[in-house]
Amino acid sequence: MDLELLVTIFPQVLLDGILLGFMYALIALGYTMVYGVLEFINFAHSEIFIVGAFVGVEILLGLKSAGLLETIPWLPVLLLVLVAGMAASGLLAVSIERIAYRPLRHAPRLIPLISAIGVSFFLQDAIRLFESIWRNAFNLVYPTLDVLNRRYDLTSTIDIPLKSVVVIAAALLMLWALWALVNRTKIGTAIRAVAEDQAAASLMGINVNRIISLTFLIGGAMGGAAGVLFGVQYSLINPYTGFIPGLKAFTAAVLGGIGNIPGAMVGGLVLGLLEAFAASYLSLLTGGAFGAEYKDIFAFSVLILILIFRPKGLLGEVVRERA
């Protein structure tokens, strides 16, 4: 075993893990917020996430073909793409809830979950259909902004590209904004009230349906932002890309305690780090017998272990059994 190599790559792996972790955290928020309010796994969230990425790439490609990508400074471009992705994903999430979940709100538990799986599958192919007609290709590549690939030396051995800094900064900013919204505003109080007890909340004059829509809007917007950042960071996307990150983000949400907003952030970071280290170190530690291809198995094993030993997650509170 090459101990020296392990030490040398450590900071780089740490950085990758943090990046991945913030990505998961942003996606996990969508799962966790919806779960907190409706006790329902929004399986279509992974597609809501990837729609954000596709809206982003379409805008960037549009700007590029108009020749504007080089002339406008990068920050406004990035902000525009981010806002557009968030708006699209948020509205999509709200419409999905309206069409596919709301009629089923009082049905047995598994019924809305199956409906959500259906929405997820439908959206994957709907994106593919759209891009096939529009561009005759559905594997798209984010146009590179040269500035974002500029690298900054942290020490003599590791450097960090600007885009990673941007991704981390944007993620932190949004997580903070969400935290403030939920804990410091009247709307946030209403959201928490609905999560606690829908009937009581509606007796207190809260429009429950509107709050549920709002929850989908916020969760979807976070997912959309994550989609754009995902595209900027990893550049290659297709309609089916969202599925695995979505699943991992759900794992992250469970890891942190589903329904729990800080939990989603912690869970995302932990899972991202675990995965980055698994991907780089597994092959080194086992002498090449098991490589990075096992990182998905690693993530799911973590999920199963947590559900066995701490079913309410790392930060989850113990809730009594609901009949």
Partner: protein, 408 residues
């Protein structure tokens, strides 16, 4: 008597249609529709049984002699019907949403694929492939291996609540696929993405043509599976499953051992998939991890839901509809679209030759599954052929009756 005459006429019409137009998908759909119509018609049960048996045992092989692809379709329908019946036990009866069901199918398939192909030599030294007759033994082995896998998965996760269980089974399905994809090193067990081939096919009596014989074999297995399902449904354990599905706490209070019942449901469902996996690998001669993706799990789930959760005829009809849609109707549409494109046909002033090359209806099965799932959940959650008990239970949905009290 008119019903009887109409049924016979319909079956004759379907058969004749396929005989005259052996390449028309519509004709084959008419034939299938005739079988379905006979099943739901109000003729005496013995006539119904006789007609169905005649249609499946005599007409289908003859049709298959006319156009071999139809026999392939029928065989695949049978395989998926057995899978849907297995998943029906887990999801429909016991109410445990299993999103990784195809993993058990894969376990069965790989069991026979490794030992029934020369690849066994790579792992165990010489002596492989096993003689082809061992296939029949391996139907049992596949059943056992899959059932054990089901129990192993069930043990740690069955204490979880419904939707967590769904995600964990999904993860499990992915784990099995990733393993199948990557276990070509350090020891080459599954040969990775390249897959395994040639897998031995079972010896069949000489007096039938091979594909027809295989069809009969699969049909026989499906009939056995249906019988087992019917016996299970009203057995002690079947009732326990349904009680558990309706209300776990109440069932537990009535003395249903939850974990044991759940494990049994998992093992039963898995064992059907295991048997069919063995059959599938022998039919295909070649398997690789591509056949065992999440898409397949959802496909089987769509079959169960389309037919009606907990309903045996529903699972069979659902399997037929989804399979035919997938491997016939969508493929047919793709071919048709391609022909129009190559001919440069113009529709409403739009030249189809300009159609994007990526547009192929056969590639959009997810969309079809998705629409089936959502629409069925909203419009008809009890499915096309609902189980009687389930029908009553879901009757209040959609009639605007006040919902039950919100969860405390």
């Amino acid at each position: 008597m008119t019903h009887a005459a109409a049924s016979i006429a319909l079956l004759a019409l379907g058969g004749a249609a396929v005989w005259i137009y052996p390449r028309s998908i519509l004709a084959f759909l008419v034939f299938q529709g005739a079988l379905l119509a006979i099943y739901v018609s109000r003729v005496p049960w013995w006539l119904r049984a006789a007609l169905l048996a005649f249609g499946l045992l005599v007409m289908m092989p003859v049709i298959g002699g006319r156009n071999g692809y139809y026999l392939e379709v029928a065989t695949q329908v049978c395989i998926f019907a057995a899978l849907a019946l297995g998943l029906n036990i887990v999801v429909g009866l016991a109410g445990l949403l299993d999103l990784g069901y195809v993993a058990f199918f894969a376990v069965g398939a790989y069991t026979w694929a490794i030992l029934g192909s020369p690849h066994g030599n790579v792992i165990f030294g010489g002596g492989f492939p096993l003689p082809a007759w061992m296939f029949y033994l391996f139907l049992l082995v596949g059943l056992l291996v899959a059932a054990i896998t089901g129990v192993l998965l069930g043990l740690p996760v069955l204490r979880l609540r419904g939707d967590y269980l769904a995600i964990v089974t999904l993860g499990f399905g992915e784990v099995i696929r990733v393993l199948a994809n990557n276990l070509d090193k350090p020891i080459n067990i599954t040969n990775g993405p390249k897959g395994l081939t040639p897998i031995s096919r079972p010896p069949l009596p000489y007096f039938v043509e091979y594909n027809q014989g295989f069809y009969f074999l699969v049909l026989l297995i499906v009939v056995v599976v249906i019988l087992v399902n019917r016996r299970l449904e009203d057995s002690h354990i079947g009732r326990a499953w349904e009680a558990m599905r309706e209300d776990e706490l109440a069932a537990q209070a009535m003395g249903v051992p939850l974990v044991r019942s759940k494990l049994l449901a998992f093992a039963c469902g898995a064992s059907f998939a295991g048997v069919m996996g063995v059959v599938f690998s022998a039919k295909q001669i070649f398997i690789n991890p591509e056949s065992f993706t999440f898409l397949e799990s959802i496909g089987v789930l769509a079959m169960v839901i389309l037919g009606g959760m907990g309903s045996i005829p529903g699972a069979v009809v659902g399997a037929t509809v989804v399979t035919v849609l997938n491997i016939q109707v969508l493929k047919g549409l793709s071919l048709w679209l391609n022909e129009l494109k190559n001919a440069g046909t113009t529709i409403l002033g739009y030249n189809l030759a300009n159609l994007p090359t990526q547009l192929e209806p056969a590639k959009y099965e997810r969309m079809v599954f998705g629409i089936i799932l959502v629409v069925m959940m909203i419009v008809r959650p009890q499915g096309l052929f609902p189980a009687r008990r389930r029908q009553r239970e879901l009757a209040h949905l959609g009639e605007g009756t006040p919902p039950a009290a919100p969860p405390a």
